[in-house]
């Protein structure tokens, strides 16, 4: 049984991933934010292997997404390429379609979002369109699952037949004449070239990749020289113009001209993008998301604590105080508990962000904030990554993939660690609540605020001194506002959360178990003689200037591995359950009973490396050991300095 290869391609935000899910049944991530799905995803439809290529507007080799897509088509030679087109945006979407046909690969066109098209009274004669394009055209509304069965049928049919050579789309005579001349040169150069016409057109466009490939072949230079004599300077534009006029002809023939229709997105943009109100509105919405996350998560967190305690009691009662039961409670249950307790927070935040994304508002937010970001030398897009950092730094760093410029991306990644992630919250709550009680909320807000301010300041410094020069150009498509479907918003939330759990979960669990081991052994010893304590004692001197006690240091060390562990490590060390009210008091005692020291401790927790998972993400996104190490060192130094500063200033005033 041979595998047949099929590729999925299309502009960003046309519903490509929804169709991918519908065809393959797997749950891939969909975003209203282009660039998130840069990695290729694959799935199966029966025997057929479907690859989801990155969303691109064209196939130029200078852009990474385009290059990936184009290389896949040229090298893997899929049997069929499925080009997904937004029915409300036919003219632009067909540009990619024409490019695909020019490569010569068989194409099936999917006309998606037909529901919105009919809402906007756009009437497309898809049968006529299929004639013009000499390819099947299938209308679908993917989110309502309409047209999908038909699509599956057409795919399985087309994959069996051998494709015939279609008539190439002809350019104006003047261009055609020169294309033919170059074509002949190419044929002369390499007898068995698969598609000399395509190569000729690419040479006319001064395509970098094709040019390079030819240069690397023997006698390639000659071909390039002869071709360059035929190519004229503005041929690139001529070719593009010709394509667009051809598209215009097709569209005029196949789409009924409609009357004026109310543009609801432009209507709403009058409000959300208003010069004066845009930013305040944005902050209100953000505040709403955060309130939602923190307040609604509370009962769920309480629930987890209760279950944890209840399980613990059962085991102790059932098995007695043995090593094994201690392992179960202190190791396993504690380990899982530490993961589960912050999940509500994380997932709710992801839910909120997914909602904003799917509704289309997130792009507007990036635009609105870009005015400020510009002054910092950052992008509106960086801003969204930083925002995600409030939930968890790992997906936030992963989302920087959408930022095209290397410089901007690195700055955003470096600065992202200052965005206080959800995992640090339990620490703030525990210690903050112990000292400041009712005003703990404000204290915690001040920490977030410090994080933001520092992020901005450091971004500016990076921009001015290390990455000199202006930021890269900002261009962003603002899709229509849509009311998010519950199903897909939940799917996105789950996608993001799942990735987080996978990355962080294992590490956290292992850490807890290790901690339990270190703490329990040598058996029978007092807490101060356990291995754990020895580890703390070893590192403590570094923190002497900051007045952090051994237990606090141990918290930091394990917090390095995963922040969520800090609270439970305290619980273990002090022999108290996590939920206990006096745990907080005990920790404060270890911090010299001083609010100032406690605050500086929190500042340290805020600023130093979030966790090992983050280091992994940084390495993955920067691809450079140098920057990864820099990020760790810089975070530690910054944390130390700021904590020291706090105690200095605090000592003076309080």
């Amino acid at each position: 049984m041979s595998e047949q290869n099929v590729a999925l391609i299309g502009n960003p935000n046309v519903g490509k991933t929804v169709i991918f899910n519908a065809l393959t049944g797997s749950k891939a991530h969909v975003a209203n934010w282009p660039g998130v799905t840069v990695e290729k995803k694959t799935g199966k439809l029966g025997d057929i292997l479907i690859t989801d290529l990155p969303g691109t507007y064209s196939l130029t080799p200078t852009a990474l997404d385009d290059l990936i897509a184009r290389n896949f088509i040229l090298e893997e030679s899929p049997k069929v390429v499925i080009d997904i087109i937004d029915a409300t945006n036919l003219e632009r979407n067909l540009y990619l379609g024409l490019l695909l046909k020019e490569i010569g690969v068989p194409v099936i066109f999917v006309l998606n979002m037909m529901d919105i098209a009919s809402q906007k009274k756009i009437d497309i004669d898809y049968k006529k369109l299929a004639e013009f394009l000499q390819s099947p055209v299938i209308p679908t509304t993917a989110i309502k699952n309409e047209g999908i069965e038909e699509l599956k049928k057409i795919i399985t049919e087309n994959i069996k037949i051998e494709s015939e050579q279609n008539d190439p789309i002809l350019y104006p005579e003047e261009l055609e004449e020169r294309i033919t001349r170059i074509q002949n040169l190419v044929k002369g150069f390499s007898k068995n070239s698969k598609n000399p016409r395509w190569i000729a057109i690419k040479l006319m466009e001064l395509d970098e990749k094709v040019t390079e490939d030819i240069k690397n072949q023997p006698n390639g230079e000659n071909l390039l020289n002869s071709a360059s004599q035929i190519v004229k300077e503005d041929d690139r534009i001529s070719l593009a113009s010709a394509r667009y006029s051809y598209i215009k002809d097709i569209v005029n023939a196949c789409v009924k001209k409609t009357a004026k229709v109310f543009d609801s997105s432009e209507f709403l943009d009058n409000f959300f993008l208003n010069k004066y109100f845009g930013i305040p509105i944005f902050f209100v919405i953000m505040w709403g998301i955060f309130e939602f996350t923190f307040s609604v998560a509370t009962p769920l967190m309480t629930l987890v604590e209760i279950i944890q305690e209840w399980l613990g009691t059962i085991i102790i009662n059932g098995l007695g105080e043995t090593l094994f039961s201690s392992f179960l409670v202190g190791g396993l249950i504690n380990g899982f508990g530490s993961i589960f307790i912050f999940l509500p927070n994380i997932f709710l935040m992801f839910l909120g962000i997914s909602f904003l994304e799917d509704s289309g508002y997130l792009a507007r937010a990036a635009f609105v904030m870009d005015r400020l970001m510009y002054k910092l030398g950052l992008h509106g897009r960086s801003f969204v990554s930083m925002l995600l950092g409030f939930g968890c730094n790992v997906p936030a760093i992963m989302s920087t993939r959408a930022i095209e410029s290397e410089d901007d991306r690195i700055i955003t990644i470096m600065v992202n660690q200052n965005m206080s992630c959800g995992a640090r919250l339990p620490v703030y709550v525990l210690i903050g609540g112990a000292i400041w009680k009712n005003s703990a909320g404000s204290i915690i807000f001040s920490l977030y605020f410090i994080g933001i301010v520092l992020a901005i300041g450091i971004a500016l410094i990076f921009r001015k001194f290390i990455f000199k020069g202006k930021r890269s150009p900002f261009i962003l498509e603002l899709g229509d506002y849509r009311s998010p479907t519950i199903k897909y918003t939940l799917i996105h939330m789950w996608e993001r959360g799942r990735e987080f759990i996978k990355k962080a979960g294992t590490i956290i669990f292992i850490t807890i178990v290790i901690m339990w081991i270190l703490q329990t052994f040598p058996l029978g010893a007092e807490i101060n003689d356990s291995y754990l304590y020895k580890v703390g004692e070893f590192f403590q001197p570094i923190f002497n200037p900051l007045n952090f006690g051994v237990i606090a240091v141990i918290g930091l060390i394990f917090g390095f591995i995963a922040k969520e562990v800090v609270v439970s490590s305290f619980g273990l060390l002090l022999g108290v359950g996590e939920g206990a009210a006096n745990l907080g008091q005990l920790i404060v005692q270890n911090l010299g009973n001083s609010p100032i020291i406690a605050y500086s401790y929190l500042v340290f927790v805020l600023l130093y490396t979030p966790c090992v998972a983050v280091i992994g993400a940084v390495y993955k996104e920067t691809g450079s050991k140098k920057w990864t190490i820099i990020s760790v060192v810089y975070a530690f130094v910054l944390a130390y300095l700021m904590a020291f500063l706090v105690q200095l200033i605090g000592g003076v005033y309080f």
Binding site: T56, Y57, S58, T60, T62, A63, T88, N89, E91, R92, Y95, L96, P172, E173, E174, L175, E208, R236, I237, S238, A240, S241, A242, Y244, S265, E266, D269, L273, K275, A363, A366, F367, D370, R371, Y374, G380, K470, P473, F474, I475, L476, E477, L478, G479
Partner: protein, 215 residues
């Protein structure tokens, strides 16, 4: 043979202004001229004697008409020419070209010249060149503005001037290229939102500065 000689010289020295002068043309040009004449005069079927009036060289004419029949541009019946669909399309293209060149070279002082120029150039200029000519006509006296310095709600893109290949191609693939009509909806200090082919883009000042537009 004195008679023939006389006629030839007569034609040359006493050349009157005529719309269709086919004496000096090669085959292709003659074909095109015939088609243009038929289309412009609008008479179908077109009597062959009409054509002979403008072209004395009947042998050449005969050859050309045969060729045109072979190419399926026309069919001949009873000394009348019927245009096929293909022929009519071709003829209209040529007529359009002629008109475009004429109006491009229009000179109020001597109208004859622009027509003559059109008669010559219509055979040599490609459709693309004609488009360019028309475009040039419209934009001859117009100054273009960079988009970040432009205040009207609508514009036509005149030129894009990006150094970076990547950006250049990206703009084209988004539909931002010379000739495209755009709408400008919002403007900030550093950003604008433009509407291109039914989709909205937010662009910053740097990009806007590199897009030259005209109203």
């Amino acid at each position: 043979m004195p008679r023939r000689r006389q006629r030839r010289f007569g034609k040359r020295t006493h050349q009157k202004f005529r719309n269709y002068d086919y004496s000096h043309q090669n085959i292709k040009e003659l074909q095109e001229d015939i088609l243009r004449m038929i289309v412009e005069k609008g008479i179908q079927p077109f009597p062959i004697p009409e054509i002979i009036k403008h072209c004395e060289n009947t042998k050449k004419l005969g050859r050309v008409l045969d060729l045109m029949e072979q190419h399926l541009f026309i069919t001949i019946k009873d000394s009348h020419i019927f245009l096929t669909q293909k022929g009519e399309t071709y003829g209209m293209i040529i007529a359009k070209k002629h008109q475009a060149i004429e109006s491009a070279f229009l000179n109020p002082i001597s109208p004859v010249n622009s027509h003559k120029i059109a008669s010559i150039l219509e055979h040599s200029l490609s459709s693309r060149a004609i488009e360019q000519l028309i475009f040039m006509q419209h934009t001859k006296n117009i100054k273009s503005f960079p988009l970040d310095d432009y205040n009207l709600p609508q514009a036509t893109i005149y030129r894009i001037t990006f150094d970076s290949e990547k950006l250049f191609y990206k703009m084209i693939s988004l539909g931002i290229y010379p000739g495209q009509r755009i709408e400008i909806s919002h403007q900030n200090n550093n950003n604008q939102i433009i509407k291109v082919k039914n989709s909205r883009f937010a662009i910053d000042r740097f990009i806007a500065r590199n897009i030259q537009v005209i109203p």
